[in-house]
Symmetry: C2
Subunit: 318 residues, 2 copies
């Protein structure tokens, strides 16, 4: 695609054209100068899509499950965007391969759009860019956005938390179910899937999760379902989507949807403000002064705390 004027790109993205949309998502991911105008134009049209986070340990079969979920939603007449968040870990892999398989299986359907997001730039960048990408896809008119993350780190958890509904995918034989209970994953799961449930121990794993759920203090009226799935066979997928749709209805009826989205917007604003404040500060303080401050630290003439206080107080007095 030849270089498009920003207005044209924005206009065609909002009209749901695929090629401009792909370009728009790259703008977001690469922090292109045009991204601000793009996001400004998208923002007013956001809030319509149901955003679903699908997370779980590597090897749980999330990629296959998400493919099946996308198909099921399509069968129900929904348009679907898949945002596959590439693991930030240098030690895991496979996401790209899974993605390519999926691409082949789903390509050719205009109602499905698939995008991978990779880690780039500063910490937190991934969660920010993923949320922004979802805003663009939402504004472009996709009704369901599936955000797939490999839940192996804090930042992936934060990505999952940008969703309205979060599903945690586990497998029968891993000790993950128990680990998950311990580590606070309970707090983010709205739905559990025990995938690869044709393997031994699936019922036992599901039961262990249910028991743990019963033990904890109820924090809402929502009963967290535990669904057995065999994604490779499409088993349990319809039921899982039913749970998602019921959860969406509950979110809306209970006022939880609005509260969650309000909190998400607040976090988004905080992140943006923090970045602005830092940029402003660096524009105010000369490179020379900054370098001198770092040198003072290197020579242990001042502590970081002292330097920060001095730079804050002297603000603007240069």
């Amino acid at each position: 695609m030849p270089e498009l004027a920003a207005d044209d790109l924005i206009h065609r993205t909002l009209a749901g054209e695929r090629v401009p949309l792909a370009r728009a998502l790259s703008w977001v991911e690469n922090e292109h100068p045009g991204a601000t105008a793009l996001l400004d134009a998208c923002f007013g049209r956001t809030g319509r899509a149901h955003r679903l986070g699908i997370t779980g340990p590597p090897g749980a079969g999330k990629s296959t499950l998400v493919t099946q979920l996308a198909k099921e939603y399509r069968a129900r007449g929904e348009t679907v965007a898949v945002v596959a968040v590439d693991p930030t870990s240098p030690f895991s892999g496979g996401a790209l391969l899974g993605d390519r398989v999926r691409m082949n299986e789903l390509s050719g359907d205009e109602g499905i759009f698939i995008r991978s997001m990779a880690t780039r730039g500063s910490m937190g960048g991934l969660a920010v860019h993923t949320a922004q990408a979802c805003d663009v896809l939402d504004a472009a008119g996709f009704g369901r956005i599936l955000i797939e993350t490999v839940g192996v780190g804090q930042s992936e958890l934060e990505v999952a938390q940008t969703a309205d509904t979060t599903a945690v995918v586990l497998v029968p034989e891993s000790g993950d179910a128990v680990q998950a209970m311990k580590a606070g994953i309970m707090e983010i799961a709205d739905v559990f899937a025990v995938n690869k449930a044709d393997r031994e121990g699936a019922d036992r794993a599901a039961q262990a999760i249910r028991s743990a759920l019963h033990l904890r203090a109820r924090t809402s009226e929502w009963d967290i379902p535990v669904q057995l799935t065999v994604a490779s066979q499409g088993e349990g997928v319809r039921e899982l989507v039913d749970h998602f749709e019921r959860h969406l209805a509950w979110l809306a009826d209970s006022g939880t949807l609005e509260r969650r989205r309000r909190r998400r917007l607040e976090q988004q604003l905080e992140t943006l403000m923090r970045e602005r404040l830092w940029e402003e500060f660096r524009a105010r303080v000369s490179a020379r002064r900054w370098d001198e401050a770092v040198a003072a630290l290197g020579e242990r003439r001042e502590t970081p705390n002292q330097v920060a206080t001095r730079l804050t107080e002297a603000d603007g007095s240069e």
Copy 2:
């Protein structure tokens, strides 16, 4: 230990007393009000310890290896602090168990101090707290600080990057070696260990790493060694420590140590400044105005970008 006056705690921490030191590290981890004075007092005495980051995928045997490294350093007359960074992942586990085993094996030696750091608070908190804990341990006089991280996410990588020397631990049979090459781990590794080298394929794995190292453009005069180890038998541990000591000498001689530490201090200052700027901003902007801004977003009357611009410009004009 009864509540100590801050001055007393700082004084005794700097003297290397173990119980006050443990308390001081809790101050850092919990962002206790006394932490600032503590870190200020410590800062002037930092820069003496050699900080080693030991990272790698879960199951590579890092815990056992770090225990053996600590013993080897002790045999050489060095004091050693171990900072075990708890995986932030809700899906992995085991760090605590490994830690308890290690505790038993190393306890009773006054020249060794072991501390686990868990994820808490905001994103980036772990890397910040780990760096601060290392400052305290450095000021308390430990000569070698081993920072053990499970390399499963961006934040763990950042923890590893607070070290002077970073060792990446892999195992023979995983495809990790190849993945590591792909994913940019090469850029952070100063030393490779192929642990569990009594398993098949260890030589092949080491050779694969060496080949990959030869392919890439040399960015420094340091030849990255690839060491076979069997941590459970103590094999290769002496050689690994030799590599670390050679690397430290090279770092110092080449001026790299100073450059790396300067960059680390600059990052530390940036993080602190960002936090200060945000705190200042929140102190300036009333809760009412902030809530109104979030409400405007919720109703799509303004975009995040517009709100951020308005709040920045109106700064102080309340």
